[in-house]
């Protein structure tokens, strides 16, 4: 499934939202069968998103040459909402609920293509399933690729999806071993 999505992104072609939604739903259902605990599914979705994100970062930077280097979280939120999310999900997003000195904020997706035709059973949500965690994982992965360590979690509420992002630290490039001799 991811192959199909990536292919489409690489070729800048659009893919049917319904097909995307259905394949994602089928995958999550399958994972719920494989991992008995919904919490594990959330963790796996996050990991898959993370690996997508690390690759999307390069793709995004290559396509958007004029995006400036971010120096604070407000700028990060701005680029995510204005450039990255519309580019890859085709929906608009807004950042709000700034807290702990601008280190935490919430990105609200106005209509999440993943949950368009989906009703997640409340018992799974209370058991720890975060259905759209892959988006949060992708944001975490993409930001880590550009040296920002963040924590991201997704929560669905009605048609909206809220992604809570907490900024942790700026990562330093480590020198390769044996390069200093």
């Amino acid at each position: 499934m991811s192959k199909a999505i990536k292919q489409n992104l690489a070729d800048s072609k659009k893919m049917s939202a319904e097909l995307f939604c259905l394949t994602y739903g089928a995958m999550v259902t399958e994972m719920l069968k494989d991992y008995e605990d919904p919490k594990d599914v959330t963790v796996q979705l996050d990991k898959m998103g993370f690996n997508m994100g690390t690759r999307l970062a390069d793709d995004f930077l290559a396509k958007n040459a004029n995006v400036p280097r971010c120096v604070d979280t407000r700028q990060i939120a701005d680029v995510l909402c204005r450039n990255a999310i519309p580019c890859y999900l085709g929906v608009s997003a807004t950042a709000s609920s700034w807290s702990s000195g601008d280190r935490e904020f919430v990105i609200t997706l106005e209509s999440n293509p993943l949950t368009e035709l989906v009703q997640v059973p409340p018992n799974l949500v209370s058991a720890g399933l975060s259905y759209s965690q892959m988006i949060a994982g992708a944001i975490r992965g993409a930001l880590e690729a550009v040296h920002f360590k963040v924590y991201a979690s997704a929560a669905d509420s009605g048609a909206n999806t809220e992604i809570r992002i907490r900024f942790d630290q700026v990562l330093k490039d480590s020198l390769p071993a044996g390069e200093d001799d």
Binding site: K3, M48, N51, D58, L61, A62, V71, V146, E179
Partner: protein
């Protein structure tokens, strides 16, 4: 004008790609040693300019130039470094580097290359080579 050679490094200093066009003199080093030298020089240059910076703004090293050649650097925010040697008077090289980066990003992320969610994978060598050569040879500074 001429374009001499090109290096692409990942953020760990691994040379992902090397190609050359009108390079008439070799360094006399084993390729792997030469890559290390180039990458190390770029790292040192970065720490050097940071150390001597006169203010706190985020700066980048763009190129260095001798009477015989110009070495232009492009470092993406993700840490991919693209280094190109050209004639000192060549123009429009930053733009060329960006297009090479684009080709690299697309090749590295192309479906043919994706081993289901594997974290790292070398880009498809020969496909990348043909794309990069195409981009470089069409550039006005080539020949």
């Amino acid at each position: 004008m001429t374009i001499y050679n090109l290096y692409i490094f990942d953020r760990e200093g691994q040379c992902l790609y090397y190609d050359e066009w009108f390079r008439t003199k070799q360094s006399g080093l084993a390729p792997i040693q030469e890559y290390k030298l180039v990458f190390g020089m770029m790292l040192s240059m970065k720490s050097f300019v940071d150390r001597l910076a006169t203010n706190d703004s985020n700066q980048t090293v763009n190129y260095y130039k001798t009477s015989a050649y110009k070495m232009t650097f492009l470092e993406s925010a993700t840490g991919i470094k693209i280094i190109l040697n050209t004639d000192p008077n060549a123009t429009g090289i930053r733009d060329l580097l960006h297009r090479i980066y684009q080709a690299w990003a697309e090749t590295a992320n192309s479906a043919a290359n994706l081993e289901m969610f594997a974290a790292t994978n070398p880009p498809n060598e020969s496909f990348l080579k043909s794309r990069v050569r195409d981009i470089v040879m069409k550039h006005s500074a080539y020949v």
